[in-house]
């Protein structure tokens, strides 16, 4: 067993770091590799004319002198109920991502939503949130969304547009043609009811669900084998061993928020918590999930089926575990698992404790079938088990057949009116399909949040409301339901919501059937009164509705379902699996972690969010292993042409440790062209590379060519080619600490023993020597934080939560390349071990609020100072911007406003700002404040209630509040009973760069890997 204290393991970040490639050295010495080549234009590319113009303008501005324009402010004459200026109100609503819905709590200030949190009363989110939830707030205020309806490219009104659509519907149905409404995945029972009503009452109308991300392997396999046409949602909190097969359940899966919560609940090896789980990842592409594996096995896409068959063989044939019928068992006899030496250990672990096999959503039906067989054998399926059939994603049935049928209709030319209702098909359909589709349809209309690619080819476009502006409802995968309530009147006055627009169209077509549906609000209420109320056991609808709005979710027990596995259809699938395994180069098109399906591509927050694996921003890449790159003769930044059966495109190469060989990974969501200013020209649309309709993510055969071009890649770590440090092994034990569970349980007290005391770990008299007198924190609070690197999965929720809470600007690709990104919290990532399949260690890094802060004493104007409560405070007004504090910060967590990054904010974007946090101008330094505004707010509250000190848990930092893994604990460390004090009193605690004796207020907890026998 490796002893991490003494082996002096080498941590490294990238291949450039390890390589001694002379070409890279040369490239490195090319002084100006990036200027002018990047999109967007930077100050560096300013023309002479622009410069002179600016100079003249600024001189003129200075000469005229300026006053702020006079603006009259009028106080409320009658104060609205519940609304006190300066006091935040929280409202419940629900967030939907494909079929996954979760209750959220929206912070509203003076009537405008400014922050999204998870709803702590929602059983799914439990107060936690993810980056997409957080960022969806920004799209509410996206200026590119504020549009008028257009009819034949001229401005119109919604009513007029409805009438025109109704005319078209009447015209085509008279000709015997049909009306088709293309809609996205959703989780709303009322919306589903509305769709049925539309199909029922409108002539020749069908609603076809064809979302951007289509992957129905799981639903189809479930339908065939279990009789459940839906995706099951496992409860990983019950699993002692998890085998992930190319599954990104902690990353891009819609349900990841839930999975991270449940997974991380068993990653904290302290006594008293459930036994730590063990996670094996079998992966082709490197995912966030795979980065968290205790052991990660690299396989090619073609080997995935073989791996699962070998596992079944091991379980059923070798170990004789029952669960499959004789015929199926016989089929497995011929399988051999020799290729996978880890199989014995995996089988041991799977059989030892409740375990589950997770299959990647993008994998085909036969792979999911093998997964179901594994889970059947392991006893993971059934009521009360890890895979409980009562927990299914709503409306996640396979749409494959409907899509195929719809395509046939189109090909026949039967469709007269095509209404794109919230789907951007022009962007997400396979190449060529949309063109042939649109040419055969008489009328195309679009209802969309943005004027996207699809809207551009439609004769009528009606912009629709954001979900924070509309009524609605959702059903969660556990059966509970929640109301979606508007937080604000539509910013675009008179703009309908998507269901309202559909009702409007329906009424224009068929007045008699929709006359009694005044709007979608009434429609939702009616359904709640007729459907939900009886199931809830309440009697009065008025109070039930109000209570439902207040709590956010209404718990409803899902009906009991018993499943029996019908293995008969599995045999065909096993045959398919046995014959599958195509060799050659494969392209993996998978959802992007930050942009997902591209709906929110116009949000700078997400564009600039580093990919958890590559740390790349603003682009999608051709991610590959260095062996693959070597075989192709390409390097990082080289542009390659990838060609599939469906189409071809150009992608920049990125070399990523951990990728399987002969596979190239790329991500969807990029390459949008219409709909906004942020998304334009960022990355490449890879949806058209997928040849099959109804399967927009997964692996396909690909041909690759070098183009000889270069493309700059903006990563937030390894900004530039690194070379040189391979000459010297950096001792990084000061930075990250980790160990195995076995070692930790054997000697918890000594494994991570520190030479210097850590907060909570030793008494105050045991402090290291310093010539400066210690601060006196004895009165009041002393704020501190603990971060559990064992629980952190690197999901980035904290990063966006911090951006949203603290008005952090986005800087653009050029500035990211120049190392000027502004995030106050970042996820540092270190690799160790096998250079082709390394172990990953993640470390959220933010201001450490050092007790002997090196930044504080060097500031000449005392703009950064120490608070009596241990905060390292930043006074923006006082800051003159010498940047000395940043230079002297050992953690490099300070961020300088090199330019006026908020200069491009257009109305109503400024409404997204948190009014409690100053928007920083250029020339000042900023950094994490431990959300001091939240601390102060809680203190006011306490003072009003006559308390001197805050109760534990009264203040949550934004990152802590979002963190689905509960890796971050914040609070008063003066109170030995506070959660943070208890969390810090751990044998795993350490301070990063402890020997500097800056005494950080953040205690990290060492990462524990639950490996089976092998080294970390």
């Amino acid at each position: 067993m490796a002893d991490t204290r003494s082996t002096g393991k080498t941590y490294w970040k990238s291949y450039e770091e390890l390589s001694k490639d002379p070409a890279l050295m040369k490239q490195l010495h090319n002084e100006f590799p990036e200027n002018g080549s990047a999109p967007g234009g930077s100050v560096g590319s300013m023309t002479r004319r622009a410069f002179m113009g600016l100079l003249a303008a600024s001189t003129a501005l200075a000469a005229t002198g300026c006053r702020r324009p006079e603006q009259e402010i009028v106080p409320y004459v009658r104060k609205p109920e519940y609304l006190t200026p300066g006091i935040a109100n929280f409202f419940t609503t629900a967030f939907t991502r494909q079929n996954f819905a979760a209750g959220i709590l929206v912070e509203s200030r003076e009537g405008r939503p400014i922050k999204i949190e998870g709803n702590d009363r929602c059983p799914v989110s439990a107060g936690k949130s993810n980056h997409l939830m957080q960022a969806s707030l920004l799209s509410l205020y996206d200026p590119d969304r504020i549009l008028r309806p257009t009819v034949n490219n001229s401005d119109s009104t919604p009513l007029n547009a409805y009438r025109r659509i109704a005319d078209a519907v009447r015209e085509v149905t008279a000709q015997g043609k049909t009306v088709r409404i293309l809609v996205d995945e959703h989780a709303s029972p009322s919306l589903q009811k509305l769709y049925s009503d539309l199909e029922r009452f409108l002539p020749e109308t069908r609603v076809v669900t064809w979302p951007a991300i289509t992957a129905y392997g799981a639903a189809e396999a479930n339908a065939r084998l279990l009789g459940v046409d839906a995706e099951l949602v496992p409860d990983l909190g019950k699993a002692g061993t998890i085998l992930g097969v190319d599954a990104d359940f902690l990353g891009t899966d819609p349900t990841s928020l839930w999975h991270i919560r449940r997974f991380a609940s068993r990653r904290k090896p302290e006594h008293g918590t459930p036994e730590m789980n063990r996670f094996y990842a079998v992966e082709s592409a490197v995912s966030t999930t795979g980065s968290n594996a205790d052991q990660r096995i690299r396989v090619k896409p073609g080997e995935i089926d073989a791996f699962l068959l070998a596992l079944l063989h091991e379980l059923v044939v070798v170990r004789g575990v029952r669960g499959l019928d004789a015929e199926t068992t016989t089929m497995l006899h011929g399988v051999t698992g020799d290729r996978f030496p880890e199989m014995k250990r995996i089988a041991d672990d799977l059989l030892r404790s409740p375990s589950v096999v997770m299959i990647g959503r993008h994998l085909p039906e036969h792979t999911h079938t093998l997964g179901i067989l594994c889970n059947t054998v392991l006893g993971a399926i059934g009521e009360g088990c890890i895979l409980d059939p009562r927990r299914t994603l709503p409306f996640s049935h396979s749409k494959q057949r409907a899509i195929t049928e719809f395509r046939k209709e189109l090909d026949r030319g039967d469709v007269g009116v095509l209404l794109f209702a919230g789907v951007n098909s022009a962007y997400s359909m396979p190449a060529g399909m949309f063109r042939s589709l649109s040419s055969r349809v008489l009328y195309r209309f679009s209802l969309s949040l943005y004027a996207d690619e699809t809207s551009k080819v439609c004769s009528i476009f009606i912009p629709v409301n954001h979900y924070l502006e509309q009524w609605g409802d959702v059903v969660l995968f556990d059966g509970s339901q929640a109301i979606v309530q508007p937080l604000i009147a539509p910013l675009n006055e008179g703009q309908p919501s998507l269901p309202d627009a559909l009702i409007g169209i329906a009424r224009a077509v068929s007045e008699e059937h929709f006359a009694d549906v005044p709007n979608y609000y009434e429609y939702v209420r009616a359904r709640w009164e007729s459907d939900v109320l009886p199931r809830s056991g309440e009697t009065s609808f008025g109070s039930f509705w109000t209570e439902a709005l207040r709590n956010g979710t209404v718990a409803l027990t899902a009906p009991s379902t018993s499943v029996t596995v019908n293995a008969a259809p599995a045999r065909d699938m096993i045959r398919t699996a046995l014959s599958s395994g195509n060799a050659g180069m494969m392209l993996g098109v998978l959802p992007s972690h930050s942009l997902d399906d591209g709906l929110y591509a116009n949000l700078g927050w997400l564009m600039e969010l580093p990919d958890p694996v590559t740390k790349a921003t603003w682009d999608n890449l051709a991610v590959m292993s260095r062996t693959t790159a070597g075989a192709l003769g390409v390097e990082k930044g080289d542009v390659i042409r990838v060609k599939t059966a469906a189409g071809s495109t150009h992608l920049p190469v990125f070399i990523q440790p951990g990728m399987a060989d002969d596979v190239i990974l790329t991500h969807t969501g990029f390459g949008r062209t219409e709909g906004g200013r942020v998304l334009a020209g960022q990355g490449v649309n890879v949806f058209p590379l997928m040849p099959e309709a109804g399967r927009s993510i997964g692996y396909v055969s690909v041909q690759v060519e070098k183009t000889g071009e270069r493309y700059p890649i903006a990563t937030t770590q390894d900004h530039h080619s690194l070379s040189g440090e391979e000459l010297f092994d950096i001792d990084r034990k000061e930075i990250v600490k980790e160990g195995t569970l076995e070692d930790f349980l054997a000697n918890p007290a000594t494994l991570f023993r520190h030479d210097l005391p850590v907060y909570g770990a030793a008494d105050a008299t045991d402090r290291p020597i310093s010539i400066m007198p210690p601060h006196d924190y004895s009165r009041g609070h002393r704020w501190g934080m603990s971060i559990d690197t064992s629980a952190c999965v690197g999901c980035n929720a904290c990063v966006i939560a911090c951006v949203s809470e603290n008005n952090i600007p986005m800087v653009g690709k050029d500035e990211v390349m120049n190392g000027r990104e502004m995030h106050w919290i970042r996820i540092d990532r270190y690799y160790s071990g096998d250079e082709d399949n390394p172990a990953t260690t993640l470390q959220p890094m933010l201001c450490q609020h050092c007790e002997k802060a090196p930044c504080e004493n060097v500031c000449p104007v005392a703009a950064t100072t120490h608070s009596p409560e241990g905060l390292n405070e930043m006074t923006y007004n006082r800051c003159v911007g010498t940047r000395y504090c940043s230079n002297n910060c050992p953690y490099k967590v300070r961020r300088f406003n090199y330019l006026n990054y908020h200069r491009d904010d257009r109305d109503p974007m400024s409404f997204v700002f948190n009014p409690d946090v100053t928007v920083r101008m250029r020339g000042v330094m900023e950094k994490c404040t431990f959300c001091v505004q939240r601390i102060n707010e809680a203190k006011y509250q306490a003072k009003n209630e006559g308390r001197d000190s805050l109760r534990d848990g009264e203040v949550h930092t934004a990152c802590q509040q979002a963190c689905p893994a509960d890796a971050i604990v914040f609070g008063n460390i003066n109170d030995p009973e506070s959660a943070v004090s208890k969390s810090m009193r751990t044998e795993r605690g350490y301070h990063v760069l402890q020997s500097l004796n800056v005494i950080p207020s953040i205690t990290y907890k060492a990462k524990i890997r639950n490996t089976n026998g092998g080294a970390v």
Partner: protein
């Protein structure tokens, strides 16, 4: 006048039984003048430059340097209007060319103070020929240096006065613990004292010009700045006292200013900066770079202003010796830094130095070592020390090398420090280059104006050491 032949030297190298030199040192030393200038020659030569019309070459040069300075000012305005983002500075390289240039220019100034103060107190008579120009250089260099601490801030419009301890109703004071604040005091003191020292020395010469002035305007100006100097005995008496006192005040400044500038780095926690050797290392480096710049300019000036008589090869050789001595100190410091990095056992410290020599910025490091350590070794050869052309070229190398020394210390230490996740690389922009070029232009413009309009030699002091000017103990 004795001529300095080796024969003569040998003859004179005669020590009597009492252990004292039989001959006065001045007799065996190489003379400080070429030929046998009369007292009047000094006045004529020096005043002639001021009174004559500028040459075409002067006009051409000042147009060029003035244009460069103007461009620099425009780019500074552009920076102030747009933000520091127009430079290449980034995260983690918060300081780059800005502070490099600041330390570089401050260093240049040091030769002037050393020559005017320390060499004066040590009675190094050879200083008189070069002290005026060197002091002028000090002042111009400090002016160039002072630009950077102001414009490198994100908000210079408040930095210019918030960095000063001005009483205010908010009782908001500067942070006296910050080395940047110490800088403010050190550099402003240095500038004030240097200016005063220079001006006091100029008063008798201004009076000379006043006396010779034929033009009414010139006369008015010279009258004003000469403060009613009459050359009276009492004036001379007080002048000498004042000069001595100022020299006394300036002497510690030679050591203190760059010591405090080095504290900007030494007081930090950054590996590569956090070093106790920095104060002497910086002072030696400053004198080294200062003499480099004095040589660069004086070799040109003596030729163009016909001062060969007064600034002789002996002066150049003396300066070359100082250059070599300080260069060796700097080289020693480079070596010791590596030794301590290894000897300390601090892994971060070790990494920074290995990275410095072999990392992405190794080209900058080896440029520095070549220019500052290897090339000045040529001065071991007397022939090279006395060769003006080679000396001039080497002085350019020293200027370049010393700029790179500051860049290496600042940028390479910053670009890769403790946490590899935040490592980066710095690439200068055209604005960085323009502003530095602008300060070079400003420096040369000021020097050209000085060379034309202000006596480039201290007339009275040079006269004081002319043979026969001091009919003292030579004829015992």
């Amino acid at each position: 006048m004795r001529t300095a032949t080796d024969k003569h030297r040998q003859d004179s190298w005669d020590i009597d039984g009492a252990g004292t030199l039989a001959v006065h040192p001045d007799e065996i030393r190489e003379p400080l003048f070429e030929g046998k200038p009369a007292l009047r020659d000094v006045t004529e030569t020096v005043s002639g430059v001021v009174e004559g019309k500028p040459t075409k070459l002067w006009y051409a040069t000042i147009t060029l340097t003035g244009g460069l300075a103007g461009w620099g000012i425009l780019t500074i305005l552009y920076t102030i209007v747009t933000g520091i983002g127009v430079w290449g500075n980034n995260q983690p390289v918060g300081w780059a060319w800005d502070i490099t240039n600041f330390v570089f220019w401050i260093g240049i100034g040091h030769a002037g103070t050393l020559i005017s103060a320390i060499l004066f107190l040590f009675r190094q008579k050879w200083r008189t020929a070069i002290n005026r120009a060197a002091e002028a250089m000090t002042i111009f260099a400090v002016i160039c240096a002072l630009i950077f601490p102001i414009i490198h801030t994100g908000r210079p419009w408040v930095a210019v006065y918030w960095l000063l301890p001005l009483p205010n109703q908010m009782e908001m004071w500067v942070n006296f613990r910050s080395p940047l604040l110490w800088d403010v005091f050190a550099v402003s003191t240095y500038f004030a004292v240097s200016l005063m020292f220079w001006f006091v020395g100029l008063v008798p010469d201004f009076a000379t010009l006043r006396n010779r002035a034929k033009n009414a305007i010139a006369k008015t100006i010279w009258t004003f700045v000469s403060f009613g100097w009459t050359g009276a005995n009492r004036h001379w008496h007080r002048y000498e006292k004042a000069y001595l006192i100022l020299a006394g005040i300036s002497t510690p400044l030679v050591l203190s200013v760059h010591t405090i500038v080095s504290f900007d780095f030494a007081v930090s926690v950054l590996p590569g900066w956090h070093t106790t050797i920095f104060p002497p290392y910086f002072v030696a480096g400053a004198i080294f770079s200062g003499f480099g710049m004095v040589l660069t300019l004086m070799i040109l000036a003596r030729k163009l202003l016909n001062l060969e008589q007064f600034i002789t090869v002996k002066h150049i050789e003396n300066m070359n010796k100082v250059l070599m001595a300080t260069g060796l100190m700097v080289g020693y410091a480079y070596g010791i830094e590596f030794f301590i990095a290894w000897y300390s056992g601090n892994p971060f410290e070790r990494f920074v130095f290995i990275n410095r020599a072999f990392g992405p910025y190794s080209w900058a490091y080896w440029t520095m070592v070549t220019c500052n350590v290897f090339i000045p070794q040529l001065f071991w050869f007397r022939k090279i020390r006395r060769n003006l052309m080679i000396t001039w070229v080497i002085s350019i190398f020293v200027n370049v090398g010393m700029w790179f020394e500051r860049f290496v210390i600042i940028a390479t230490s910053l670009h890769r420090d403790f946490l590899p996740s935040s490592w980066g690389y710095f690439i200068p922009t055209w604005v960085d280059v323009s502003i530095f070029a602008g300060t070079v232009g400003l420096f040369l413009t000021l020097f050209l104006l000085f060379a034309k309009y202000i006596p480039v030699l201290a007339i009275s002091e040079v006269k004081g050491i002319l043979p026969g000017a001091q009919p003292s103990h030579l004829h015992h």
